[in-house]
Point group: C2
Chain length 421, copies 2
């Protein structure tokens, strides 16, 4: 593997070339990439098998092994995703906020690629294809750093992608991977601000902290959600149960899954046992604060209930566990959320206009929901067509990031000898 300096330089050169491709040229490259991946499917699956076997020897959990595994149908689905991105509108080149200034200067903003992206992610080879696809569509070069467990898969995938790019007359350095598992390279990558314009860490809280603390490249942090639902006194309880079930159990391992349930004290005695019954069907363990515990321990599903520990309301569970707390009303719910939320996805279930309005005004999660599941905070669900990450930071982008969020803009100012007075 070349040094990171060399990779950074090559990426920057590639980015200049990518920035001036037409949408048609980029789409052609995406189709070539899809075809090349198809043609090399056997070799890719063999490389992946090597990773899986090594992972099994190394004692990876079944869940991790599953994430790591490619098979024919999964690979086909990924390739189909790449082809679908061809049909998405290309944000690059869009001219917006165009106007004529009083002095006759014509001014507009033009959307352009960001330049060179770096993405650090876990042991998921699908992310390699996914990010390569979205970067290419938006004319960005990308440096990938996948988990060491996917090393062979990533070497195979990137080789195939580079082959496709070169056959199209495009620079192989448009998509590069750091395949050396040395962890010191991550820290080196974080200081590569001379070449890399944006860093996206995908993975756990620890990686995000490292990037925030150490990176000299602008970082997009996100993907970590301590998500809340507050069930207000006036909520439609049948709908509330369905939303809570959906938010918690549909896919508990993801960032927009529910972590904490707050219930208005006036309905707690009625609602909590019903919620426990519904969630017990899915083996959800409840971690209940005092008042909730008292109600739930008396109920039929008490074996699913445990007292909440001191940190249990600061947990992103990523599992079939749910914090439960009774609150005096909206004020306490908002206060709890302000103290514990990661500002990812928070919801109120209510029929009270004033409370819904206050919740939407006062809660500043990347997505705030009224009477809907937190699971909707997702690029696909929000109709973006693609998702790069879910940002919970304040700058550049918040919530699901689609193709547009992989672009920036420049001002274009056209004159005829204009000077500033």
């Amino acid at each position: 593997m070349p040094s990171l300096q060399i990779m950074g330089q090559a990426a920057k050169v590639a980015a200049r070339q990518l920035a001036n491709l037409s949408t048609r040229q980029k789409n052609r490259a995406l189709l070539a990439m899809a075809a090349e991946l198809e043609r090399n499917a056997a070799a890719i699956l063999i490389a992946n098998q090597e990773d899986v076997e090594r992972g099994r020897t190394d004692g990876l959990s079944e869940a991790l092994l599953d994430r790591l595994t490619l098979n024919e149908s999964r690979l086909a689905a990924l390739i189909a995703d790449t082809r679908r991105v061809v049909d998405l509108p290309d944000p690059v080149g869009e001219e917006f906020a165009a106007r004529q200034l009083p002095n006759g200067l014509r001014l507009s903003k033009r959307r352009i690629p960001i330049g060179v992206l770096a993405v650090i992610y876990e042991a998921r080879p699908n992310v390699t294809i996914d990010i390569a696809t979205l970067s290419l569509k938006t004319g960005n070069a990308v440096i990938l750093r996948g988990g060491s467990e996917t090393r062979h898969s990533n070497i195979a995938l990137v080789a195939v992608i580079q082959q496709a790019l070169e056959k199209q007359g495009l620079p192989a350095a448009a998509v590069q991977a750091i395949t050396d598992p040395d962890r010191a390279l991550v820290r080196e990558l974080l200081r590569l601000d001379e070449y890399v314009d944006m860093l996206i860490p995908r993975g756990g809280a620890e990686l995000h902290r490292l990037c925030r603390q150490e990176s000299s490249i602008p970082v997009i942090t996100g993907g970590i959600g301590i998500c809340h639902i507050f069930v207000d006194e006036t909520a439609d309880q049948a709908k509330a149960l369905a939303i809570i079930e959906n938010s918690k159990v549909q896919r508990p391992s993801v960032c927009n899954a529910l972590d904490t349930l707050l219930v208005h004290e006036k309905i707690a005695a009625e609602f909590l046992p019903a919620a426990a019954a519904r969630l017990a069907q899915h083996q959800v363990e409840l971690r209940a604060a005092a008042a909730a515990l008292e109600i739930l321990q008396k109920g039929e599903y008490h074996e699913w209930v445990r007292p909440a520990g001191p940190d249990d309301f600061d947990q992103e569970w990523l599992a079939l566990i749910l914090g439960v707390k009774v609150v005096a009303g909206l004020d306490e719910a908002i206060e709890h959320i302000h103290r514990h939320s990661t500002e990812h996805s928070d919801a109120i279930l209510t029929n009270d206009w004033t409370n819904a309005t206050r919740f939407v005004n006062e809660i500043n999660a990347s997505a705030v929901f009224v009477n809907a599941s937190t699971r909707f905070n997702d690029g696909g669900q929000f109709g973006l067509g693609a998702e790069v990450a879910v940002s919970t930071q304040k700058l550049h982008a918040r919530g699901p990031m689609g193709l547009t969020e992989l672009t920036t803009y420049k001002w274009v100012c056209l004159g005829d000898g204009h000077v500033r007075p």
Copy 2:
């Protein structure tokens, strides 16, 4: 002065309150602030006088002393600026990208304040009023760190501003200043990511580098411009001379002033002496690369010409100095700019459609100009009504940042029992 931790906490609490003020309440606070500054003008000027005297004793340059000095008319102008911001549209609360999803969910983005800003700046007390005004208008709390030379001025200004806020029932912590000159506090501020959402360094390259390297808070870098003008073969030479003169001499100490002049070889023999004559009227020293040097040394204004040193094309001059180089044509001009530009402001002067188009496409400065002065890259000139900074980074904002760039957004998703299928 309280500890930075305490200041950060207080700012975060204040930010919550500011975020829910109506435009009318914020405007009322701005008017109160203006009135309070007027009422306390004498005390402010006395405090400023103390800074100026100390600065003079410490041997500050006349230019710095001038930047540091407030007087009645300057203070009145600053107060008038604050009142003008009242009339600017408030970006907070704007609902955009609203749509109904196929499943009936109503989705929109709502513009909200960023939260807590931190601004590090030089010895310019005007920035204190300016940033306090723009932060308040956008519902952000702000922690200011001005140059130690303005310590007394800033203590006085912030005390007056806080008094005005408190009289309006608003938290004083909406505007706080780090007035302890200990430089270690800057590094401490850079790690205050628990409370601060965005850091804006205003000042030299060294401060920007420090912030990029050390800050765990997202940083907006910018304000440093190595700016280029390329005079193409077909340029209208009379207009070109006026644009170059304007770009270089109108205000040489600012970031959008011209640093390097590139001239097409076919017109160099005719154009360069004319440019030298025009610039000599303003005492501009020319640092000329070989071919340009040969032409200029033969001319009437040769005493203003020196050979360019090895780093002279990587200088932001901020002074009456200009790098000059003859290039073979557009390709070499673009290459030079790619190698040396800070992507702030670059211009082409040409009558050639293809060359203008290529320049606009291939140069990715925050603002790219055709036949206009680089001095237009400015919030006021671009009609933003206010300017916080000129960003040259790729994320969040590029070029002049106005009020909107001090905001972020949240997604608001309204349902009726919606669950994700």
